[in-house]
Amino acid sequence: MTPRSRRAFLSASATAVGALALTTLPRPLLATVGSRPEPVPPIDDPRLKGLALRGVESARAAGASYADVRLTHTRVRNILSSDIQDTESMSVGVRALVNGYWGFASGPVWSPDELARLGREAVHQAKANALGPSRVVELAPVAAVPDQHWTMPVAQDPFAISPFQMQDYLNGVEAHFARRPGVVVGLAAYFVVQDKAFASSAGSYCTQRLYQTNGFCQINVISPRDGQRLQGGVDCLSFAGLGWELFTAPRLPQVREHTLQEEIEREIDAMLADHRLPIKPVDVGRYDVVFSPRSVAELVFSTFGPATQLDRALGYEANASGTSYLNKPLEMLGTYQAGAPALTLTADRSTPGAVGTVRWDDEGVAPDAFPIVKDGALVDFQTTRESAGWLKEYYAKTGKPFRSHGCACAPQGVDAPLLHTPNLVLAPGPAARDFDDLVADLSDGIAVKALVLEMDFQNVTGLALGRGVYEVKKGKRVAMLPNAGLLFRSPELWKGLVALGGAASARRYGRSDNKGEPVQSANHSITAPPAAFKQLTLIDPLRKA
């Protein structure tokens, strides 16, 4: 199949009739923006502002000191080789603050009367609790956003392309590899487009169109040498703030250097090369370890990711997934050594192509890029407008601006906003070196290509289950350790960081952050270079006591 440009495709579909044209058109869900139902207007239609403000005004009239509204229209398309699944939903939520207590109400109908009901209900929820002991909320100041729209830039809008064309493309890649004896490749694609409108009593109104794309690739290879079945996958298809180009672009900065087909080809070669290495049992002990970018991203995701969520650190998630080892923020900020001096971790929601990227968060805050760990010292936490207030004293003392870092996220309008992890970037080292260079520097140690992390509920002690662990002698990978695992404590792990790969070696991965009661899932990206750590404990995780 010859891929066509979007322009060519659109001009063709404008005149086409039948199934192909129909699939490319948005499905006409209804909303009542004025006095009667009509097909949902584009999210940047100025009339939606009046609809959203009905919720804000209703909550204010019922007694809210602050209120905000989120309208979402979400389309999900799942493309498997034998199936296409479409899901579409609209929802709206109103949040209200009364005497320090939050109330929230949400539902599936966009209409002025329903917005008014949700505003009243959110205040009802808040007031029922405001009868209790006093609770103080100081919202960090925010600049009002006056009527702006932002569309996440993607090269190929997946919802402007026929799903059958995409399915053919994936089937074509699968067929390409099926010609190779003993090789089976399975591909799937998953796309989300979300239109979102936000209004608040702080005077903001903004709308966004956000994209999320990810893929699934399973590679099965029968070794020509001994007939053994090998399983693998590529790591360039995790969640991204990209469109169909995640699959079709010749290369994507920080995601992959080659075409998808070439990445799969290389992975097959790597699987067969690994299979030629001798297999060794785990020799329990302490080793210097080099981690691939993917493994380092996983370590960041499972340690600092949750541990520097300010609400979690202060016990707001204690009854759910847990608390944090960074549990005294005001004492620790600026003084706590979170890692080696080479460690600098920044957060942002602006990296192009990252899945946590937005123009405004779900409180109307334009997120900033901010360091969480700077030269090894803990200097900040992930915050929202309310939680930033808990650090006001620290910001005043250090002369930092008192503001939210823009980490509020409501995955859908029906969900209440919650602090979710933004994009995280682990700063690369000064020298232009990659994973293989770091391995070459290792005279005796371990190299880790991929791992699965099992952390505790304060993200302090961890068990890494190896999914590609090598014994390294004199800079060469000499054996596979199929049952290897690593035990570590987060503070010691990061203090033992000895080398980082250069900027060109960094890769970006999308991950899901699950939190809250009820559980919400939100995605963010982590960018990390390969890294070398000293003296980690290697164990066999399958061994019982």
Binding site: A19, T23, R27, P28, L29, L30, P37, S82, Q85, D86, E88, S89, M90, S91, Y101, G103, A105, S106, G107, P108, V109, S111, A116, R117, R120, E121, H124, Q125, A126, N129, L131, G132, P133, R135, F164, D311, L314, G315, Y316, E317, A318, N319, T323, Y325, N327, V414, A416, E454, D456, F457, Q458, V460, L465, R489, E517, P518, V519, P541, K544, A545
Partner: protein, 481 residues
């Protein structure tokens, strides 16, 4: 008055769920948009009343509602599905058209699984799954309860965090074929409720943590004050734990810890996986037949253990489903049933009856109280619950790793002597169920529905005993409290 009744304002005191008549009305409109073939509709409306608190203050109270409409078109034996949450004509018509396009595509591609006929309703009595108390629990009642529970921790200078959730839903499956034949609907209109209450109490220095929780369809049966008291006592008793060496210990697992440990076991009762030679229930490859034998009919755990469910069990409260029957997966230690879907039954067993998952289940117990177990233990550990249990490390032996959480104590000479720092364990529930010394009475534990938007999730109660077992393997200490 609006032209479209479905976009009328919902009055503040309106029913929060679609009625049977509303479901049928929506389905009839969907059927009218379809051209030929069969159309199947699954409607599920839900309401959540929720309250979270932390640091002894309510952090969010919410009222949320939504619905899911799955539209399935079956054309020439090929089915396809789309999903929407809007009930207006234009949205429903668009959903029907999208499903049709995909079904037609399926005919051309010929790669879809074959359509299987629906299972006849075997006419089991409707179990109790609806509670007016749960559905009627007001915002004010949730708020008042949270204040009382948090105040108990506040009074002791401790920090509590907790969650109260009351939910209700209504669903219905409808088929155009049944409508044309003037036959009864495929499944009755089902209304369900679900309630949960859980609370964590921590001391402000972070040296102790206690938890207790309960779930079920009926809020009236949950006893939140008793749960709060237990969480409080566990927090106080767990403070300043000592470090013990990892190793093998006799353990007394409270019912919650037993449920946490055997969750992956009850999820593994799958015939297709066993016959594929994978997992704990595959026995050996029969060379002559070229098929995998399973462990069906073999003794796999202690003969005091039976794991079963009866859809009519009033304590389990299982959501009815076409074709449901009582199932006993393990009968007095012997593996007697593995689950399989309808397609398997039709093609391999020549029946039209699936065997269900242990959506809700009961595990047999004994008569020894936890106090008695402690008294008869020379040296061992008392475990409140297990947490962070991931995918099995080894599927064939069901070897798991996870953590103890919210209360772990050393027992010496029949008495609790010290709070102990948490451990990581590496152990298989199969090993534990073959090393049982004593069993307590089976009681309901905390096992709420995890993901409210998942259309395929049923209610998930579990009734399990406390147990004492030998040689439980703890592999490392962890720092988290």
């Amino acid at each position: 008055m609006s032209h479209h009744p479905h976009h009328d304002a919902i009055p503040d005191d309106a029913p929060r769920l679609l009625s049977k008549a509303q479901c049928e009305e929506i389905a009839r409109r969907i059927f009218a948009f379809a051209n030929g073939g069969e159309t199947r509709v699954w409607l599920h409306s839900w309401w959540n009343g929720e309250l979270r608190w932390a640091r002894n203050r309510v952090s969010l109270a919410s009222d949320r509602r939504d619905l899911t409409i799955n539209v399935e078109r079956v054309l020439d034996g090929v089915w396809s599905r789309t999903t929407t949450n809007q009930t207006d004509d234009a949205s429903l018509q668009a959903a029907v058209r999208a499903a049709e396009r995909q079904a037609r595509r399926g005919v051309a591609g010929a790669r879809r699984p074959p359509f299987t006929p629906p299972v006849p309703d075997l006419g089991r009595p409707d179990p109790a799954i609806w509670s007016d108390v749960t559905y009627g629990l007001t915002t004010e009642a949730r708020a008042g309860m949270a204040r009382r529970l948090a105040a108990t921790a506040d009074a002791k200078g401790l920090l509590s965090a907790g969650y109260i959730e009351t939910r209700g839903g209504a669903w219905m499956h409808l088929s155009s074929r049944r409508l044309a034949a003037n036959a009864p609907w495929d499944t009755p209109y089902v209304r369900w409720t679900q309630a949960q209450c859980s609370m964590t109490v921590r001391d402000p220095a972070g040296t102790g943590s206690g938890w207790a929780g309960g779930s079920g369809y009926d809020w009236a049966k949950l006893e939140p004050e008793a749960l709060a008291q237990r969480a409080l006592e566990k927090c106080i008793a767990s403070r300043n734990p000592v470090t013990l060496e990892p190793g093998r210990y006799t353990v007394i697992l409270e019912p919650q810890a037993v449920a946490d440990l055997i969750e992956p076991l009850v999820g593994s009762f799958r015939r297709d996986i066993a016959e594929g030679g994978l997992g704990p229930w595959a026995l050996a490859l029969d060379q002559a037949l070229g098929l995998w034998r399973t462990k069906l009919g073999l003794k796999v755990v202690d003969e005091r253990i039976t794991i079963s469910h009866d859809p009519a069990d009033p304590e389990l409260g299982i959501v009815p489903e076409a074709g449901m029957q009582p199932v006993t997966w393990i009968d007095r230690g012997i593996l007697t049933k593995l689950t399989h879907p309808r397609a398997y039954a039709l093609t391999r067993l020549n029946t039209n009856t699936p065997v269900r998952w242990p959506i809700g289940y009961r595990m047999s117990g004994g008569e020894t109280s936890v106090e008695e177990m402690i008294k008869t233990t020379k040296r061992g550990l008392l475990v409140t619950r297990l947490s962070n249990i991931a995918e099995p490390l080894d599927f064939a032996s069901l070897l798991l790793t996870g953590l103890t959480r919210d209360g772990l104590w050393l027992i010496e000479n029949g008495q609790i002597t010290k709070a102990v720092k948490n451990f990581r364990f590496t152990e298989s529930p199969l090993f534990v169920l073959n090393s049982i010394e004593q069993l307590g009475p089976a009681v309901p534990v905390f096992r709420p529905v995890k993901w409210p938007y998942d259309a395929d999730v049923g209610l998930t109660p579990a009734i399990v005993p406390a147990l004492k077992a030998r040689d439980f393997s703890f592999t490392s200490t962890i720092d988290a409290i």
